[in-house]
């Protein structure tokens, strides 16, 4: 596994897409901090960008990379190593490549312009989202044979998490506003890792009020250490469950 990881990472760190992603994040991060006088406002804008861009790039990059290296993966699968080692090595390398690009593009401006707990939390949330969406991308690419369908599915999944889930949640809250739905708000947020990441960062910036009534519920739950632990566990599950699915699909797949 470590051998596949090492050489895949060497390849990825020279990959133009990864380098462009790092530069794009740096341009956005640096640009926002230069445009806004208040670093907190810049961080707030950066939250919105990160929550949309990071999952999209991680998903599409993973799906495209897995399809484009299909022939090489076949060659690896003929070598004396298990398929589990191949996929784990590749996944780990893709996660590290995304995280390195993010540390350079996002971490650097945050460190220079707004060092603090909010920046740290934003970086950690972005990293968690990178890992989760790399794994989701792997799940898609190992289950669907055709690249076009894989990329299409990746975009649908991204739209579901970024737009559709929020819209449905809002509609639900609005429709059921006369009923005691507070116990459901937190579990519903857990269904979307992007929402969860956004909530955690917003609470740290102390902008829960922007989320209205549900903000109070979130603050009450995620504001505590136990709440943060639960959030971390949910994020972990978001990486482990699709990862297990991808591994299972890859081990049974005809290459």
């Amino acid at each position: 596994m470590l051998k596949v990881f090492k050489y895949t990472l060497i390849d990825l760190l020279r990959n133009r897409f990864v380098l462009s992603y790092a530069v794009l994040l740096l341009a956005i991060g640096q640009g926002l901090f230069l445009l806004e006088e208040d670093p907190m406002k810049a961080i707030l804008s950066l939250v919105q960008v990160v929550m949309a861009l990071v999952p999209l790039i991680a998903l599409v990059f993973t799906v495209v990379y897995i399809y484009d290296t299909q022939e090489f993966t076949q060659l690896l699968a003929v070598q004396p190593m298990t398929r589990r080692s191949i996929l784990l090595g590749q996944l780990l390398a893709m996660c590290v490549a995304m995280l390195v690009a993010q540390a350079f593009g996002l971490g650097l401006p945050l460190l220079v312009h707004a060092p603090g707990s909010a920046s740290l939390l934003l970086s950690l949330s972005g990293s968690a989202l990178s890992i989760i969406f790399v794994v989701l991308g792997a799940l898609i690419a190992t289950r669907l044979r055709e690249k076009a369908r894989g990329v299409g599915m990746a975009l649908v999944v991204w739209l579901l998490f970024v737009l559709v889930h929020d819209a449905l949640l809002l509609a639900l809250l609005f429709t059921l506003s006369d009923y005691p739905i507070e116990p459901w708000i937190v579990p519903l947020a857990g269904l979307n890792p992007i929402d969860l990441a956004r909530i955690i960062v917003m609470l740290e910036i102390d902008l829960a009020a922007m989320m209205g009534y549900s903000g109070a519920v979130y603050k009450n739950f995620f504001g505590s250490n136990m709440g943060m632990l639960v959030a971390a566990l949910i994020m972990l599950l978001w990486a482990l469950v699709p990862g297990w699915g991808a591994m299972r699909a890859f081990q049974r797949k005809d290459l």
């Binding site: 090492k6 050489y7 990959n15 299909q70 690896l76 003929v78 070598q79 398929r83 005809d254």
Partner: protein, 249 residues
């Protein structure tokens, strides 16, 4: 010592479509078998089953204590003995040839001194080892693929259209190397559309059609039966004859 490969009732289907059905044959040490057949005849599927890339729907492949069935994938020990030269040579573009060779040696756990690096010289790649794989032409990538296939001294070598994209001199060197492997007691399986290129090397020919093994017979016998001098002439004559040749082992 190379173990024979025994295939029994091998079948593979995708959905309801059988792409390989009822294939029975054996490949023995010290022979080169040429797999031929029209497009979509099941050649690649048969090769992929042998390599453990595709799991059969029925039947089995047994070799050296390993049996591949629908429920059992080959273990890594089986793959130690196998070399593979695919038809499409695609590698991570940002790695150099040297890094790729190191990666494969690392994976196989082979020390540099144990590797057969003669082919690097023969194919003229010594000066290009530090070039990135993404910058190589298709032919050079195919040379790299040949080096990877032979470098670990496999007992069984599977070559899918090995001469595609290679210049005639390189193609003949690669095929000569396959011949040396056969002479050393290995098993070489080659798929090719260019019968002239491999007929001097092949000991037996397996003809697949619509997923069925129509015949498997020695080249000499094919030529004798048809009275032809070349495989390219013998094959159509054999196919057009009404004799349904059964598997000859």
């Amino acid at each position: 010592m190379t173990e024979r490969i025994s295939i029994k009732g091998l079948g593979k289907r995708y959905g309801r479509q059988w792409v390989l059905r009822g294939v029975d044959c054996e490949f023995s040490p010290g022979e080169v078998v040429m797999l031929i057949g029209p497009n979509a005849s099941g050649k690649t599927t048969l090769i992929k089953c042998l390599l453990g890339l595709v799991r059969p729907a029925e039947g089995s492949i047994a070799s050296g204590g390993t049996t591949i069935t629908s429920g059992a994938a080959p273990d890594p020990a089986y793959r130690v003995r196998i070399g593979y030269m695919p038809q499409i040579s695609q590698f991570p573009g940002a790695l150099t040839i040297r890094q790729l060779l190191e990666m494969m040696a690392d994976i196989r756990g082979i020390a540099p001194g144990e590797l057969d690096d003669e082919l690097i010289e023969e194919l003229g790649l010594r000066d290009q080892l530090d070039k990135r794989l993404g910058a190589l032409s298709g032919g050079t990538r195919q040379k790299v693929s040949a080096i990877l296939a032979f470098r670990s001294r496999p007992e069984v070598l599977v070559m899918d259209e090995p001469t595609a994209g290679l210049d005639p001199v390189t193609a003949s060197r690669v095929l000569a190397r396959a011949g040396r492997l056969r002479d050393a007691g290995g098993i070489v399986l080659i798929t090719s559309h260019l019968m002239e290129e491999v007929e001097s090397l092949a000991d037996r020919v397996a003809y697949l059609q619509e997923g069925h093994l129509r015949f498997l017979m020695p080249v000499r016998e094919m030529l004798e039966i048809t009275g032809a001098q070349r495989l390219a002439v013998a094959l159509p004559r054999l196919l057009s004859s009404n004799e349904r040749t059964t598997v000859a082992q």
